[in-house]
Symmetry: C2
């Protein structure tokens, strides 16, 4: 078992990565300090629950816990205020009290939603993440929890740290190939922003990663979590440097908002966004090789780097204006300086962004 500590003072917590961890969830809850007298709320979704909910609930009950569960419909559409209210109703009816905890068993949607429930129920109760996707390695580090508003993604939320993250690699074996690739987009992103060697390692080991080779995957998740943890620990509430983690997300979020959440998977949208950020880098005078290498890494991981023709440029620009990274009306982008290094660039010209989007829709090379 691999173990990483996210070092946030009195809010520090461990991430465990390994095989066969689910069956000891109850013991981990005791380790996390959740009292057995208080009910636990297990939140999962319609795809994950049939596979793992019974095993987790049995472990919790075996350790003396009362378990209430709430299963949401799988998919980004469940990250809504309406579903949030339904989960809260289950929590109240299940008798959750101020010493209770919420366990998020699933991917990023379950984690974000359950996390906002934990952050706001009685003004904050315990929280444990049990990610079952590769993508969730990203959202399980850093404490960003949220639900969507019809007008913008992740608009309502909090910075709220879990007490523990339990990452059972066995749960990844049932992931559909598109979900695997989508998750690897955030893994390679961590290399692209801060670790050149790791980024090229991902390209080199793309086959093993896509085949879910346990050794390669365990290393990639550990490295991805560790890079993210380093960034987060230096800027917990995203006052500054943490924004580099948003590489590819400005365009990516707009793609998700305009196309409808769920048309592109999150990692796929982010992959297109990272290709866009690399194009923007070239426009701003950086080496064109950044774009070429970024595209080759993403393509090796079976990720898209082009935008379908039906995406409207005006709608994408409008969606970006609502994006919360546009602080005080200016357009700010995370732009690669080289593979493994990025800058936060304020005052990016809207016309340059528009040009990038137009280029992303073309089949031919940008130069």
């Amino acid at each position: 078992m691999r173990s990483i500590t996210v070092a946030l003072g009195e809010r520090s917590y461990p991430i465990y990565i390994g095989s066969g961890l689910l069956q000891n969830t109850g013991e981990r809850c005791i380790e996390a300090g959740f009292p057995q007298r208080s009910p636990l709320l297990l939140v999962s979704d319609s795809e994950v629950a049939p596979l793992y909910l019974d095993k987790v609930a049995a472990s919790l009950r075996g350790s003396g816990y009362t378990v209430v569960s709430h299963i949401i419909q799988a998919g980004e559409a469940s990250k809504s205020l309406a579903v949030y209210e339904e989960v809260i109703t289950t929590a109240i009816q299940g008798g959750l009290d101020r010493s209770s905890a919420v366990l998020a068993l699933g991917g990023g949607v379950v984690g974000d939603l359950a996390g906002f429930v934990a952050a706001s129920y009685m003004r904050g109760i315990g929280f444990m993440q049990i990610p079952t996707t590769i993508l969730a390695h990203d959202s399980s580090v850093g404490g960003k929890v949220a639900v969507n508003h019809p007008l913008a993604k992740n608009m309502l939320g909090a910075f709220y740290q879990p007490s523990m993250v339990l990452y059972d690699l066995d749960t990844l074996a049932t992931l559909p190939p598109r979900q695997v690739a989508s998750g690897l987009a955030e893994v390679v992103k961590h290399g692209l922003i801060l670790d050149k060697e790791f980024a090229y390692w991902c390209r080199e080991h793309a086959g093993e990663l896509l085949a879910l080779d346990p050794e390669a995957l365990g290393y990639a998740l550990e490295r991805g979590c560790a890079i993210k943890a380093d960034v987060v620990c230096n800027d917990e509430t995203e006052q500054g440097q943490r924004a580099i983690l948003n590489l590819g997300h400005t365009i990516g979020h707009a793609i998700e908002a305009v196309g409808g959440y769920g048309v592109f998977l999150h990692g796929e949208a982010i992959a297109i966004g990272m290709a866009g950020a690399a194009l923007l880098a070239a426009k701003l005078g950086r080496d064109r090789a950044i774009y070429e290498d970024t595209v080759s890494m993403l393509t090796a991981l079976s990720l898209p780097v082009r935008l379908p023709a039906q995406y409207d440029e005006d709608e994408l620009m409008e969606a970006m204006m609502h994006d919360k990274k546009f602080k005080e009306g200016r357009m700010t982008f995370i732009v690669p300086d080289s593979i493994g290094a990025v800058s936060i660039v304020g005052d990016v010209q809207a016309s340059d962004v528009r040009g990038v989007i137009a280029q992303l829709k073309k089949e031919e090379s940008p130069w």
Copy 2:
């Protein structure tokens, strides 16, 4: 102008109490550090907005701010998730960004709702309280923000500190007498829990307080805020001692939940709850004089100390079971030990609470 500092480290903030403060709201926002480039959201209600919103908005615009406003229907029913979502929509459409702030102009309902908006919009933006009721002196100190769930009051929220509280005593002149008395319930509560001298001072100066004498009221609000600030600063997220501020609230919240929010004003429900806590004290062996003095103070302030006959005991008991102060299934009450001193008593017998409720419905003396 009186000034108190709520000392919470890097989240410390000032409370200003005085006359004519509204017209300088813009300058205060600059002092609070809100940048003029980012829009401000002014939240108020249908009773307060016609009186003061234009004055505040004019001051803000005069200081160079863009102002978006959202006016909710006055009353506890607006402290709902549905209204919360409406305010968020206004914020998004108004272009609020991560440097923006929410200003709560009104009583506790406006403050709690707007505070939860500020705490969760883009995971937290700036927040200023501009209370226009006496009751709001209580909710403006301590950072507890929340909305109600149909099954329980204040169920969804956060601990989120404002950057500043601006208390213009001139706004209190238009308060209806019942609102004045309701507000004074929380003022005298601060005396009852921690300051014997101040509690008796309130009884002695009840006439001046009810008549809104500026000198008496300014002193009472300053003292009330200062006592609360002392408690909060030692226990920001209510891990322990802060619970003493809930004197009267366990029964009071149940009265509000069963009767429907808004039948009794909050302070009236709390007054009945404080009479109940004093009865419970007598049941647990404390001096009966605590009850006699508590009742005389509340009565002097024109507050109710009896429960109407139609309130059903079973419904009240059930409502208390959902109350978040019942940690891990046991009943915990804040019980006075004397005037100016209280204890947190765990394992209170349900039958004793039931007896207190029955007695609160009777006209005759309990002994």
